[in-house]
């Protein structure tokens, strides 16, 4: 199972941009996309900043060319997956076996929560149309139909590590000779269910979040979608433009400590990073940059930094959390941050983490504070850790 897997296409939509170029420009210019909630109708709209995609559902539907009755999650997912597929430059005249592996935490809940009040009042109440895309799989199904993918379609749901796991499955299916091309990633739209759910855990920041800062107060939620197109070596040779990078390492491990909190010694994160490194055959010192999971909660950042020290000892690579720009996009974060990591490698730059005054990791120069050009970046580690102790790490390497 040693066949290499290449990344041929990137697609993204988030609170900082409607496509990859816009997202990257915001990262370059240090412009976060976190503000009072404008699009979601919630009593908390002025309490918790969030990284909403700056488009209404009507605007998104128009971009998709859809009717306007679809879940926001499906629309975000489709737009990012479409961009990735178009970007990949795959030879259209060859019938490559193509799969779509998406990920989401709440599927079409954004519509379900409109249905529910009517349904609670009366069992025949509420429009069924609003729950057609409730299931996670139904959101992916809509995306697959619009992308015309029929060979293989599936959906992962493991909370915040979901799209990293989707990418892993896609890579393994290519290496096992089952598929040639996989569009892999994830999508989540902001919903009252999620916002209120996270609020009950008391881990939301009422100010702009400060991941990996000693004074951090919690996370800001975000929304969006990030997809990459994975291809086999044979397909990579036949692309209309060179592939971006290789996926050289990946691993998933379980913290098995608590339903939502991470263990103090970061067992799950440690095992995921270790596993990814082992697969890649790289030494810890070969990693040039870590895109942290870095949500900004007391617990995650403490646990993740502990695990990082266990792996890297005194030779810490440069690192940052781009959630300081986008907020925590939940199931989409693995895919979105994969796109950012690969783009950073393409551009040979380091992405900053915003609003750190006193870093958790105090060693000089470790936290990236400003966008930095002209840095040789050959290997990037990207972390995504979710509820249920689900920890995943991906390593991307220059070709």
């Amino acid at each position: 199972m040693s066949a290499p897997v290449y990344i041929a296409g990137l697609g993204a939509i988030s609170g900082i941009g409607n496509d990859v170029a816009e997202n990257f420009r915001a990262l370059q210019e240090g412009r976060a996309g976190l503000s009072a909630i404008r699009y979601l109708d919630t009593v908390h709209k002025n309490t918790f900043p969030a990284g909403e995609v700056k488009s209404s559902n009507e605007e998104l539907a128009e971009r998709c060319g859809w009717m306007g009755s679809d879940s926001r999650t499906a629309m975000l997912g489709y737009l990012a997956a479409r961009e990735a597929l178009d970007d990949a430059g795959i030879n259209g005249s060859v019938a490559y076996r193509t799969g779509l592996i998406s990920a989401t935490s709440v599927g079409g809940m954004d519509l379900t929560e409109h249905f529910y009040p009517h349904f609670l009042a009366n069992n025949s109440g509420g429009k069924l149309r609003q729950v057609v895309e409730h299931e996670c799989g139904a959101v992916t199904e809509k995306m697959a139909a619009a992308l015309q993918v029929t060979d293989f379609v599936s959906t992962v749901s493991t909370a915040c590590s979901s799209s990293a796991n989707a990418i892993m499955l896609g890579a393994r299916m290519i290496r096992n000779g089952l598929l040639d091309v996989v569009i892999a990633g994830g999508t989540d739209a902001l919903s009252c269910f999620t916002l209120n759910g996270f609020n009950t855990l008391m881990i939301l920041d009422q100010q702009l979040c400060q991941p990996f800062d000693q004074q951090r107060r919690g996370l800001n939620l975000g929304e969006g979608a990030g997809f990459i197109v994975l291809v086999s070596e044979a397909v990579a040779k036949d692309l209309s433009k060179p592939a971006y990078a290789k996926l050289t390492g990946y691993a998933n491990a379980n913290d098995a400590y608590h339903q939502t909190a991470s263990s103090p010694d970061g067992t799950g994160s440690f095992l995921a990073m270790k596993g990814a490194l082992e697969m890649s055959g790289l030494k810890a010192s070969d990693i040039d940059y870590i895109n942290l999971h870095g949500t900004g909660t007391q617990n995650n950042d403490a646990s993740e930094s502990t695990a990082i020290r266990r792996i890297f000892g005194n030779s810490l690579p440069r690192m940052s959390s781009t959630k300081s720009f986008t907020g925590h996009t939940l199931a989409a974060c693995g895919g979105l941050e994969a796109v950012y990591s690969i783009k950073a490698m393409e551009q040979q730059c380091l992405l900053p983490g915003l609003r750190i005054s006193k870093p958790v990791i105090e060693e000089e120069g470790v936290m990236v504070n400003e966008f930095t050009n002209g840095i040789p970046v050959k290997n990037i580690l990207s972390n995504s850790f979710g509820f249920g102790g689900n920890c995943s790490s991906l390593i991307f390497s220059a070709i």
Partner: protein, 330 residues
């Protein structure tokens, strides 16, 4: 992929009922409810309180399968669920609406995440291994099996815990009924877990191959069945049992007809949804039935299971997801 243990909670008295299992087609009403065991002998009270019904069903069958196989530390835990944890989702939504987003509590929210079954199993076993959850409608269980097959290829010494669970709540039943899903065929629910490995010792059945199709035509289905059989040196007449997802709902009849024709008249046909009801991961129950048959246990509609060497499980879900599995005796 060799199965060394299988466990199921279903509308039948299927749980830990090694010798007494005689499945009875359930014909009353249009909602089949699982016959649940007393969980206190399997799960300690401190943990049970954090487990909603679907979690208990998933955890109980997982623990049972592991005990049967004598495995305490599986190499991976893989779960399929189409609907996820509906009860807690419904509870949180209801409170959110009624309380207008104020004074909500975390438990229902935390327990509503789709990977809770897999996560709770890992927590109970303190298992740090690979853990994944697939949520793609009628292919959720199939994707879990596919992942398992790849894991066993990637690491031949693995022992993988793989299964599926889907529940029906009062609310979900009403909504799905409004979609017309249960006009002719009762709704069902259930959980089933298996232990799978790459070597045949102590195996109770072998999953020789799986094929999934999305929105195929009948010719594609016929070709897929033929190819799956031929790959393993089999043809029409070589399969003794077809576990068919056919129901009284005729929408997918043409597909079931084609598969029955391709398999041949010699095969006994058992419509497994008459035993477990209609739900997206019902093929996991069918696999449990197949494992039972391969161990010589009785099946309704078949007087003698001992002659079954090969079985095919075929399901054609109305959303366009088809799955074919070839199972053999060990």
């Amino acid at each position: 992929m060799f199965i060394t243990a299988a466990s199921a909670i279903s509308p039948q008295k299927s749980f830990r009922n090694a010798d007494g299992f005689t499945a009875v087609p359930l014909t009353e009403g249009n909602r089949l409810v699982c016959a649940e065991p007393d969980y206190s002998s399997l799960i300690e009270p401190k943990l049970i309180r954090r487990m909603s019904r679907i979690i208990r069903m998933g955890v109980a069958t997982a623990i049972d399968a592991l005990q049967q196989a004598g495995v305490t530390d599986p190499s991976a835990i893989i779960t399929g669920t189409a609907y996820g944890c509906l009860e807690d989702t419904g509870i949180f939504l209801k409170r959110m609406v009624e309380n207008k987003e104020e004074m909500l509590t975390p438990t229902a929210f935390i327990q509503s995440t789709h990977n809770t079954v897999g996560a709770q199993i890992a927590l109970m076993l303190k298992c740090n291994a690979y853990n994944n959850t697939y949520v793609h409608r009628a292919l959720s269980f199939e994707t879990a099996l596919l992942d398992t097959m790849m894991l066993l290829k990637e690491n031949g010494t693995s022992q993988v815990l793989v299964g599926a669970a889907d529940e029906l709540t009062d609310q979900s039943f009403i909504i799905l009924e409004r979609f017309g899903l249960f006009r002719k065929q009762p709704a069902g629910e259930g959980a089933a877990f298996f232990v799978a490995k790459a070597s045949p010792d102590a195996a109770i059945a072998e999953v020789k191959g799986i094929r999934t199709l999305i929105n195929p035509g009948t010719q594609q289905v016929e070709d897929a069945v033929k190819t799956l059989l031929q790959t393993h040196g089999l043809g029409a007449g070589d399969v003794q049992l077809l576990l068919s997802g056919r129901t009284a709902d005729t929408a997918m009849d043409q597909y079931y007809n084609v598969v029955e024709q391709t398999i041949g008249n010699e095969a006994a046909v058992i419509q497994f949804k008459a035993l477990c009801g209609e739900y997206p991961t019902s093929t996991s129950f069918a696999l449990w039935l197949a494992c039972n048959t391969m161990q010589g246990k009785t099946m309704p509609g078949m007087t003698n299971a001992s002659h079954v060497r090969y079985a095919v499980i075929y399901n054609a879900d109305k959303s366009g997801y088809h799955s074919i599995m070839l199972i053999s005796k060990c």
